[in-house]
Symmetry: C3
Subunit: 140 residues, 3 copies
């Protein structure tokens, strides 16, 4: 049973949804040696998220940004956590709705994702800067 962990620092992404599957795979060549296992992708922030969705058509990521802004709008009169800007509190709520982590099965040395699945970074701040991920692999 192997168990290892890596922290990686992502470049700063603009606000929106970004495919990071290949960034994660490139950081973890060790996955090739895992027959059966799991990878956890965990983001150490409360205003960005990690989720899995459609990996092909960029319009999906664009529509995510627009509709999530409808579900969690800026400048609601009742927000009190506003001193960091209009994007602050909505970013926190989006982060919990989408989640800060995903666990992905590993099978025969590869992430066992569906054909159309990719890992998204949800950047919910206007200027979130670089984000840190903890990648934890367990398997044999």
């Amino acid at each position: 049973m192997k168990f290892f962990q890596k922290e990686i620092r992502l470049p700063a992404y603009e606000r929106g949804y970004h495919l990071i599957t290949s960034v994660i795979e490139d950081a973890l060549p060790e996955i090739k040696k895992i027959g059966t296992g799991q990878l956890q992708v965990f983001i150490k922030h409360t205003s960005a998220s990690v989720t899995i969705n459609e990996n092909a058509d960029p319009t999906v990521r664009k529509d995510f940004e627009v509709h999530m802004n409808k579900i969690v709008p800026e400048n609601m009169p009742y927000y009190t956590h506003i001193y960091e800007g209009a994007d602050d509190m909505p970013a926190h709520i989006k982060a919990s709705l989408l989640g800060c982590q995903v666990v992905i099965p590993i099978t025969n040395g590869k992430l066992n994702l569906g054909t159309w699945q990719g890992v998204y970074l949800g950047e919910h701040r206007n200027y979130g800067g670089k984000r840190t991920l903890v990648l934890t692999v367990i398997g044999d």
Copy 2:
């Protein structure tokens, strides 16, 4: 420490929320031999979801379908990913709001769910067809 994985193909379910706890348990008799462990249920699709909710009253599943359609309505004028139909983009957003996977504790040979907890398949397409789950068990 045992570690094993199974892919199962679900029958096509109609759009809505469906209890699949027993389908999963029936596919994994090996759980009976696990003292302490975890089961991950992962769906290999981006327009269906896996979540845990109330296992007794079917009205909960009905209300989920109706209210999730209010949170993520069809035919929003700003959707651009629409060529697969009005249910396409909303299905992607619902899949990420509810999630593509859950990890369930295993204790003394059983899924350690609360009395009222069951595993839901959220089918967000009108005709999603058969869905594939990856079931990963780790434990000893």
Copy 3:
């Protein structure tokens, strides 16, 4: 490879969002002996949730409560699962939107959370009573 599990009973919290990181850490001194691992926090209920968000400013938790009530309002005319009260069905939907579990990396004997991350209990019922968590640690 160590693998252990503990069930803990939380005191009854009022409706809203509550930081429970230290409650979990106090229940698991064994984490100090884990070099690399993971902790899963799983709640055995369908009207309360576990999520990770900002651990410092209480206004974040207050704004969560207010805005989640906008996303999932009470007394929608189409709710049919209403006999337990107006807070019943919305509590189920919030529980699945936020999730019933999180997995947290363990590194060098500590939960590897970001500086601003804390574990939230989301209590979505007006009188939810005591809630039970299953804490599962794996690591070496």
